[in-house]
């Protein structure tokens, strides 16, 4: 993916360029472009409980952006705000240089934002292939009548999208299970199918909520490889929540650290490692 045209965001959104790093090329040769998603002063409350308190951060095109924090820090809530599932009481979400109005989750999906879930949210009654095909539903244009008669666009679309989906199946190495009902698969493979479904949507922004939770070392290595490959080959921007510090520090370009609904750190993995507030949150502080 090429970096966004630099004019479009600047015209509509002068604030975006202020704080952010300029577009650059990383050490391993990946293009980091302009700001793709900008979260500005987000506050989310559930009744009296403040889940997210005045958090701002941005995600740049082509980067892998991690959100970390102890349990209950508000990471998943943040992801739900990003995917339109929760509506924040205060703050703005900017996407591709435009302020995103309040949207239903299925409208957000059409903007090019796909995600996976902490607890796998696959369609158990459908085969792996059908599950991944659902990822392309937003691109299907044929009418109900055409589908009923399996005629014209309906059939062409089915074949065309099947080809695309097969590429993702190859990419994630799940060819042998494509006709298996998802309910019968082991946990690690389900996580992979869920990633495939999100990828099938060809998202601009891919959000992964704990993609490696409950996996053994080998499976984590596989998943890390897939995440890096997705970022590298398709140029997909990735937002990632993960608990495994080793994985986060290795994979991500920049990290946001949350604790009790506040942002306590934001920067490259090296900066985060040496941030005293982050160390305190993770290792605890001695109380006198």
């Amino acid at each position: 993916m090429t970096p966004t045209t630099s004019t479009a965001p600047a015209l509509t959104d002068p604030a975006a360029t202020d704080s952010a790093v300029q577009p650059h090329v990383t050490a391993d040769g990946r293009q980091i472009g302009g700001v793709l998603m900008d979260m500005r002063n987000i506050t989310l409350r559930f009744g009296g409980v403040v889940a997210i308190k005045d958090i701002s951060f941005d995600i740049r095109e082509g980067e892998i952006r991690a959100i970390i924090g102890p349990n209950g820090a508000g990471k998943s809530s943040m992801m739900n705000v990003m995917s339109g599932f929760y509506v924040p009481q205060e703050g703005e979400v900017w996407f591709r240089g435009q302020r995103r109005p309040q949207m239903k989750p299925y409208e957000v999906a059409r903007l090019g934002i796909a995600r996976t879930f902490q607890n796998i949210a696959l369609f158990d009654g459908m085969s792996v292939l059908d599950n991944i095909m659902t990822g392309r539903l937003t691109m299907m244009k044929s009418s109900l009548l055409e589908q009923a008669l399996w005629w014209g666009r309906a059939e062409r679309e089915e074949t065309w999208h099947r080809e695309k989906v097969e590429k993702i199946i190859d990419f994630l190495e799940i060819q042998n299970i494509r006709k298996t009902p998802v309910g019968r698969l082991p946990y690690g493979l389900k996580k992979r199918v869920e990633l495939a479904r999100a990828l099938a949507a060809e998202p601009k922004l891919l959000m992964l909520d704990e993609p490696m939770a409950g996996m053994n070392v080998e499976e984590k290595e596989d998943m890390s490889r897939f995440i890096l490959d997705v970022n590298d080959e398709f140029g997909t921007t990735i937002a990632l929540i993960e608990h495994d510090m080793g994985v986060v520090m290795d994979l991500s370009d920049r990290v946001v650290v949350m604790d009790y609904g506040r942002k306590i750190g934001d920067g490259t993995p090296d900066q985060i490692r040496s941030n005293q507030q982050v160390i305190d949150a993770y290792l605890g502080v001695a109380h006198d």
Binding site: F85, Y106, A109, F123, G125, M126, T134, L137, E157
Partner: protein, 358 residues
């Protein structure tokens, strides 16, 4: 040995996504169609048409409709009888008001009218789920029956409150009314059943079917990947009601000839069709036919055995029959909760390996 997929290679995705990917299945399907269209019409008599084949085909269409809604889209409905009544009364009003237009078109239009009514009663599904939705559709059932009883316009102010199918022909053959021959009745229902089953299959293997199943399996995830729950649920209600409406139209005009709404389309009908769908297998086209066959044929079979072979008095046999059918349904659901379709799938799995155990 006999039933296997070895050597049956697919070289395009189009071939791979066809309805019967296995050659043997395909031949079986063509053979069934050939027998149904070419052989049965020649040998059918009034008894077979009225007691077995016509009700089987009509109930299959209704079961297909409910299966789309409940089995594929996961929305429970107890309003099937009411929606069948809409189809029946719509055909009646249309065919008496516009006698020059073919009854076949009226039947399809009646399906369309039922689709609109079904969407209307499907609106609560956007807010409520499961048992609560079932209760809401139950309200539709009672309301529609009440409506057709209370408003004389629907039955053209006839003194008995009944509706009677006018005599209509297709290509010079009577298809409704007392002069209709057994093959004509059967063929009309067969054409509708085969056509609608084909449409159901097309819809469920493509985009809209995936939307329905996504909503059924996990509505939140479905919404996150871009399924609009409003349109997905309402199309399910519309398509399902179309099928049920056509079934109601055929049930009244071709099968019964005359109907009284509470008797023909009461709550019993809703439950009967729900049983067919559950016994046949939720989310299966074949299951809809299997379930309908099971519940239509079983009573006929029992009656023949009890009265014909064992020589029991008819009234006793009728009561025992109800008990046996009920008991069989319970036994069946315990043994195979996923229905006849699953049983069929398992049989095919076994056949693939037979005579070897692994």
């Amino acid at each position: 040995m006999l039933y296997r997929e070895a050597g049956d290679f697919k070289t395009s995705y189009r071939e791979d996504s066809q309805t019967f990917p296995l050659r043997l299945d395909r031949w079986g399907y063509y053979a069934t169609l050939a027998v149904a269209f070419l052989v049965i019409p020649l040998v059918i008599n009034d008894y077979w048409a009225n007691a077995v084949l016509v009700p089987f085909l009509v109930y299959s269409i209704a079961a297909l409709g409910l299966n789309i809604l409940t089995g594929y889209a996961g929305q429970v409905s107890l309003g099937t009888g009411g929606f069948m009544a809409v189809g029946a009364y719509a055909t009646y009003k249309l065919s008496t008001s516009f006698p020059d237009i073919s009854i076949l078109i009226h039947i399809l239009l009646a399906g369309g009218i039922t689709a609109v009514v079904g969407m209307l009663f499907g609106l609560p599904s956007l807010r409520i789920k499961g048992f609560y939705l079932a209760v809401a559709t139950l309200a539709a059932q009672f309301f529609l029956v009440w409506l057709f009883n209370k408003v004389p316009w629907f039955y053209n102010y006839s003194a008995s409150g009944q509706i009677t199918a006018p005599e209509r022909t297709v290509l010079g053959w009577f298809v409704t009314g007392p002069q209709t021959s057994a093959p004509a009745k059967y063929l009309v229902c067969l054409v509708f059943a085969v056509g609608l089953a084909w449409i159901a299959r097309n819809l469920t293997r493509g985009t809209v079917g995936r939307k329905w199943m996504a909503i059924r399996d996990m509505d939140i995830a479905a919404e996150i990947i871009g399924v609009n729950p409003l349109t997905a649920k309402l199309t399910a209600f519309a398509v399902s009601s179309f099928f049920v409406g056509v079934a109601g139209a055929l049930f009244f005009s071709v099968y019964l000839g005359a109907a009284e709404v509470g008797e023909a389309f009461g709550i019993n009908k809703s439950f009967l069709i729900l049983f067919m769908v559950i016994i046949g297998g939720l989310g299966s086209i074949f299951g809809s036919f299997a379930g309908a066959a099971f519940l239509v044929l079983l009573p006929v079979l029992l009656k023949n055995v009890l009265v014909g072979t064992l020589g029991w008095p008819t009234d006793l046999a009728a009561h025992i029959e109800l008990m046996i059918v009920g008991a069989l349904i319970v036994v069946f659901l315990i043994v195979e909760p996923h229905g006849l379709a699953q049983l069929w799938r398992l049989t095919k799995e076994k056949l693939r390996l037979w005579p070897f155990p692994h």
